[in-house]
């Protein structure tokens, strides 16, 4: 606490506690890092801080962020889901097919959500009833669903998504572009659910100590199953945003997304071993990734550096988390 600059000595005690309390929050380092990056990028590029650029960053991470909000819950309860890339692809294929034949927003949305929920339920059943480690289940699902995409589409693209369906990617409401609007709404919903619902509480409990949770009578299978289904539902919603923005679906849609999602959650500050983290962490992590990718381009760093920077960031995030816990958490 000695590094804190406080206006008067008398306040330093109270401020110190508030600050240290804030610092133990899981998303704190990511938020600090985000602030540092925002300052750095805006100093080195004039365009960066413009309102339209900031909004375009948020638009660009809407799909990633939406899925990260749900995968965050899976990771919090001590599991993992790396099937979301292919799942998003399949949802987009299904929703796109419906959209090209019927148009409109609701039917494609329901289709995407239903397909996602089914895939998520399959993941959840295999993990809970099948007692198979989630990393294996969702790895299998990652390949299987990509296979289904190829079989269903026969390798061809789905194009000509009608404008009525694309509204979630192109339109805006209250002056906010729809993808950002959807992301923020879902964030608020998840924040409420995670903090105040019994399921949200149980997710933390199961991830924090599964054995104790079982002995306390918590429905640990239901808690985990629902988190996998939630991922499916959010992937379904994200696929409609994707459809709107891209206007077409390719057979490789969503490839690599699954790891970006996990990266966002972990960079944001949710512990990969479960039980510790927050909804804000997932959002922060997604925004951080968007800011970095956007900022690097504006500053003129060649695109080939993106993966290296992202990778370094993940390692940095995990290391900070460990160090911070040693400094703050284990003090007492």
């Amino acid at each position: 606490m000695s590094e804190v600059q406080t206006p008067t000595p008398a306040q330093s005690g109270a401020n110190g506690t508030v600050l240290s309390r804030w610092l133990v929050r899981p998303e704190a380092p990511a938020l600090v890092f985000l602030a540092v990056l925002l300052v750095a990028f805006s100093l080195s590029s004039d365009e960066f801080l413009s309102g339209s650029n900031l909004e375009s960053i948020l638009v660009s991470v809407a799909v990633l962020g939406t899925i990260a909000l749900a995968v965050n819950q899976v990771i919090l309860c001590g599991e993992i889901d790396i099937s979301t890339g292919s799942m998003m692809g399949l949802c987009a294929v299904a929703a796109g097919a419906v959209a090209t034949s019927t148009g409109g927003l609701i039917l494609p949305l329901l289709t995407g959500v239903a397909v996602g929920a089914l895939a998520g339920a399959a993941n959840g059943l295999l993990v809970t009833l099948g007692r198979i480690p989630s990393i294996i289940v969702t790895l299998g699902m990652l390949y299987a669903l990509r296979g289904v995409i190829l079989l269903v589409t026969g390798g061809t693209w789905i194009t000509g998504i009608p404008d009525g369906t694309r509204v979630l990617g192109t339109g805006s409401v209250l002056g906010i572009e729809y993808p950002v609007f959807v992301l923020l709404i879902l964030f608020v919903v998840m924040e409420m659910v995670s903090r105040h619902s019994t399921w949200g509480r149980n997710v933390f409990a199961v991830g924090g100590n599964r054995r104790a949770s079982r002995l306390a009578g918590l429905p640990i299978d239901r808690v985990r199953f629902l988190s996998f289904v939630l991922v499916g539902v959010f992937v379904g919603i994200a696929s409609i945003i994707y459809l709107g923005r891209a206007g077409s679906v390719q057979t490789n849609t969503g490839t690599g997304l699954e790891l970006q999602v996990v990266a966002a959650v972990v960079i944001g500050g949710t512990s990969i071993s479960g039980g510790r983290g927050s909804t804000l962490a997932a959002l922060t992590g997604a925004v951080l990734i968007g800011v970095i990718l956007n900022g690097l381009i504006l500053v003129g760093v060649p695109g080939i550096w993106q993966d290296a920077v992202l990778g370094a960031l993940i390692l940095l995030a995990v290391t900070t988390d460990v160090l911070r816990r040693r400094l703050l958490g284990d003090k007492s």
């Binding site: 105040h196 619902s197 019994t198 509480r201 409990a205 100590n209 002995l215 009578g217 039980g275 007492s332």
Partner: protein, 528 residues
């Protein structure tokens, strides 16, 4: 704080003048704000068995971990062979000839006996540079042979009996020039016959000049095997004296710091109707033919050695293990309980023995731990209401949980207060039948006494209580009835007035192979 912390050197002049193998001088060790050991002196002479006794949390293990290089003392010094020494790791300690056999054996269950003996040691090589397995097996046999045992050195350790695992651990510790061996509760899971074998090994060691530190809760064994006894209490050195100068009653008084009858609270109960009845309960390899009755307002003590199947029976009643035979009746009705949720619906709650790994969600606040099992009851439309905090406060106050407000992390509390949180969690669910598994393990005397009073109050309120405990005094002092298990079967049942230490121990051990009582001098019984 405590007056006259006589260092453990007081009576050294009367014994042989050989310099001690090691000596701790006024060592202090703190963890955060908690002082685990304060100003303690302890020394070990060659060829002696020096018992280290004290209640859970008295600082015995912490003290020995400083000798073994796991912790460095914050204050005070460690001398080995007369010279001040600092160990930075157990490897240093082992190089200096100090070995430790921890309570939880640090063996590799999947590896063979031979491989276990050579983990972290120099392994013989063939001239090609590969491991010389034949030589390793030969050395392993030799070493086990010197301990007087004949084991299949190629067998994997997980298949060995508890006693043989203990022997492998000892053999492993004795590699090289061991001059001191620290044994932490070595007999916790041994039968009486195996204890005798261990004692024979110990006496072989000491006659070869090796000093042995013997940490144990079993006072009978302590008097049988040890030359000197050091008592710790709440991290302080209380006394060091020749075993012959102490008796069991005196020793208990020194350990507890007050007469036992002040520790326990026991008011007259009038047991009512049968709340829980178990008939012929069995599960292969764990327990069989278990009959058990617990009435309202009754505390039934379930005693036995570690591994006798007591926890398993309780867990079967709670729906964690499904019994293969027999039936469970609640209030006279046969029930089939398949999950903890189902058990709680029937009014049963099981308080597990491992507080940190089974009882608490450590990252959670005190409040969230207390309300863990009632969230679904108090929730409105799936959301947790604001009244949650009042509920948590009520239980925190009722159980006098001290050390923080209910929104503080539970991990900050002391062991005793954490245990109160675990109990609060179960009481919040308002069970009529409580299965308490070692409810006072590893907590300080003050908290123990509070928990005994709580258990007594609960029984007075009409709850049916099954108290599983390995501490004989606890079972005898708290129970209306004592049921004893051995090797998965009920082997004795005694009313409050018939239950005594002798009877319960006889039932728990099968009445054979009992070690010689204190003072008979039968230190190392011959093995045919």
């Amino acid at each position: 704080m405590r007056p006259s912390d006589e260092p453990g050197t007081g009576r050294a002049a009367t014994a042989a003048e050989a310099p001690p193998v090691f000596r701790l001088r006024d060592v202090t060790k703190r963890f955060g704000g908690v002082t685990a050991v304060e100003g303690v002196g302890f020394d070990l002479r060659p060829g002696e068995v020096h018992a280290l006794v004290g209640e859970n949390g008295a600082g015995k293990s912490t003290l020995m971990k400083m000798v073994h290089g796991l912790y460095a003392p914050d204050e005070g010094t460690l001398e080995v062979g007369g010279e001040a020494t600092e160990f930075s790791s157990p490897r240093d300690a082992e190089a200096a000839g100090i070995a430790m056999i921890p309570q939880e054996l640090d063996l590799f269950p999947e590896l063979s006996v031979t491989e276990n003996l050579f983990v972290g040691r120099h392994r013989p090589r063939t001239r090609w540079g590969t491991l010389d397995r034949a030589a390793m097996r030969g050395k392993a046999r030799e070493r086990l042979g010197s301990l007087g045992v004949d084991l299949d050195v190629t067998a994997s350790v997980k298949g060995l009996s508890a006693a043989n695992q203990q022997i492998v651990a000892i053999a492993r510790a004795l590699v090289g020039e061991a001059r001191a061996v620290v044994m932490d509760e070595p007999t916790a899971s041994l039968t009486e016959r195996e204890v005798r074998q261990l004692f024979r090994i110990i006496s072989d060691l000491t006659s070869g000049g090796v000093g042995v530190v013997y940490i144990s809760h079993r006072l009978e064994e302590v008097f049988t095997i040890s030359d000197r006894i050091t008592v710790l209490r709440d991290g302080h050195h209380i006394t060091t004296a020749p075993a012959a100068d102490l008796d069991a009653e005196e020793l208990v008084r020194l350990m507890v710091g007050r007469p036992l009858n002040e520790l326990f609270t026991r008011s007259p109960h009038s047991p009512g109707e049968v709340a829980l009845e178990v008939r012929g309960l069995g599960r292969a390899g764990e327990f069989e033919e278990v009959d058990l009755v617990v009435r309202r307002s009754e505390i039934v003590g379930l005693s036995g050695l570690v591994g006798a199947g007591r926890s398993e029976v309780a867990q079967a009643i709670f729906g964690i293990r499904s019994p293969e035979s027999g039936e469970i009746r609640i209030d006279g009705e046969v029930v089939r309980i398949k999950s903890p949720q189902a058990a709680m619906e029937k009014g049963i709650f099981y308080v597990p023995e491992e507080r940190r790994s089974q009882g608490l969600i450590l990252p959670f606040s005190i409040k969230n731990n207390i309300t863990l099992s009632i969230l679904d009851r108090i929730a409105r439309f799936g959301f947790v209401p604001r009244t949650e905090r009042q509920t948590a406060d009520r239980f925190a106050k009722g159980l006098s949980i001290r050390g923080g407000s209910v929104s503080d992390p539970v991990s900050r509390l002391s062991g005793g207060n954490q245990q109160k949180v675990v109990l609060a969690k179960s009481l919040a669910r308002e069970p009529s039948i409580l299965l308490l598994d070692e409810p006072t393990r590893g907590i300080d005397v003050g908290a123990k006494s509070e928990i005994y009073r709580l258990i007594d109050d609960l029984a007075k309120e009409g709850k049916a209580i099954l108290l599983i405990s390995s501490e004989l005094e606890e079972v005898l002092s708290m129970s209306d009835r004592v049921v004893v298990m051995r090797e998965g079967r009920i082997t004795g049942e005694f009313g409050r007035n018939e239950a005594d230490q002798e009877r319960v121990m006889t039932a728990a051990t099968g009445g054979r192979d009992r070690p010689a009582p204190a003072g008979r001098g039968e230190e190392a019984p011959e093995d045919e």
